[in-house]
Symmetry: C2
Subunit: 299 residues, 2 copies
């Protein structure tokens, strides 16, 4: 049976596709490591076909994509939609003429904000997915990740947003800096995490010296790698919460992320008295692509 | 002519030696890339001999070393001297029995602080060099670098110190993060640097989002790589100054560093109304090793 349409989440490191044969739930879920970051301009169509061609019929099949595939270095550039504004749907998508006539590719744009300058690609589709199920939401969405996003949502629009390099800094510091010597394994220490979040909320300027203290505590006092890793995470997430305070203070907050990381943000927010709703990032991406598919049919 | 004694600065990435044939100034200055980080335990003596053996006579020659060579993963561990206390001299050095009888090796220890936990190896010798020329100094020494140090000095002792990962974070973010895309070349922008320092002094918690703004400003507004690099440096040095304020506020400050980096710290401090004395880091290292040599003769 061939696909009615195909939803695609195409990020820097991964390509994922969901094959829809009927209306509501995907019949197949596929993925590869052909991320945008590893592809030349001519590599996108073959990478996509490698994954989905068994599911293509003779007629053109709508393929709705989100993520870095629409960046300047992607397949084709899908210019940013503006903030404040609604997350983009199929009307704002870039349409692509593929070599293979069985493909009818639409690439959803990201969103940009003029001041402070900021951009997102992929998260806007998760936001659209959340809004499809919560059209009257007025509050704040937090999307933890390599580049965490905080977005203020009102009346179906993204009113403002900010990006934080928290996840990328954690990866660099834990794997590539002098701190890597004290971070073996993958254990955790809840108390060390919470204390570090509190430290940053009250003294954010201490980040630079608090980071090196992880090394010194390891050398002088045998700080465990579990505690060091949890404390590093707490320092960086705490710094993010300190800066994002205008977003979460007194607001309804929903967290869209993967289980482990989102639960750490939830714990950090709980320490500040904020109880956040938690939602799965993949489910929101898929819901956002489905929402775009609905608007495609209305064009 | 053979050496009377040899001064050695042995860090993670470099080995440097100064050959003294008389008393006061070195007759030769030598260096190699046989840093401590690239050597096994058995590699230290051959690396040293490769550099200095032409200068050794038949009698044992004192070789006074400072830096990471005395760390746990170094040649032999020279246990930390305690803060508060004087920077270590030859009396506190670890003595090493080398295979080659022409070597009489002494390794100066670093210093450690119990609370907040902190360590230095190498900078204590620069501090000793500064104190040799300024024995009555009461104030603050700032030693910019991969791991910048701020030390409060009084009555010939290091009263307290803190380490900041500023230089290492700059290297990671400018070379290994998403920000590398906007940092080509090696130009500079004074105004962008100063504005970033001011931003961090007034709002240190914004670091995470201010970092990603460099990327967004590049994508949306064509921020130049010169401005982006200077702004990144200003954000990180500004965060350090915000945390080190108790060190520099109302104090006599001397900067010990290399020309370019130290001049950036001087500019940042000048923006806060602090005029810092500037001293060359290599000259201070050599002065510290000479000071240790004097105490060796008194043992």
């Amino acid at each position: 049976m061939s696909a009615e349409w195909i939803a695609v989440d195409w990020g820097t490191t991964h390509l994922r596709a969901w094959i829809f044969e009927g209306e509501n739930t995907p019949a197949h879920s596929l993925s590869s490591t052909d991320g945008m970051g590893s592809l030349d301009h001519d590599g996108f169509e073959p990478a996509l076909l490698k994954l989905i061609s068994p599911h293509l019929g003779d007629a053109p099949t709508p393929v709705i994509c989100c993520g870095m595939v629409g960046a300047r270095q992607g397949w084709i550039e899908a210019p940013y939609a503006k903030v404040p504004g609604s997350p983009p749907n199929a009307r704002g998508a870039a349409r692509l003429v593929a070599q293979d006539p069985r493909l009818d590719v639409r690439i959803l744009p990201g969103m940009s904000q003029a001041k402070p300058a900021d951009v997102m690609r992929g998260e806007e589709t998760q936001i659209a997915g959340y809004l499809a199920a919560h059209p009257n939401f007025d509050g704040v969405l937090c999307l933890p990740g390599t580049h965490s996003k905080w977005a203020h949502i009102s009346a179906g629009e993204v009113v403002s947003f900010r990006t934080f390099m928290t996840g990328e800094m954690f990866a660099l510091l834990s794997k590539n800096s002098v701190l890597r010597h004290g971070m073996a394994g993958d254990g955790w220490d809840d108390a060390a995490f919470s204390a570090a979040v509190d430290d940053m909320i009250s003294r954010p300027q201490s980040l630079g010296s608090d980071l090196f203290s992880l090394r010194a505590e390891g050398l002088l006092n045998g700080l465990s790698s579990d505690s060091a890793r949890a404390r590093l995470s707490g320092l960086l997430i705490g710094l993010e919460l300190a800066a994002a305070r205008p977003y979460w203070l007194g607001q309804a907050v929903a967290l869209i992320g993967n289980d482990t990381l989102a639960s750490r943000y939830a714990a950090a927010l709980a320490g500040q008295g904020v109880v956040a709703q938690m939602l799965d990032a993949d489910a929101m991406t898929l819901a956002g692509l489905c929402s775009a598919h609905k608007t495609l049919k209305e064009i």
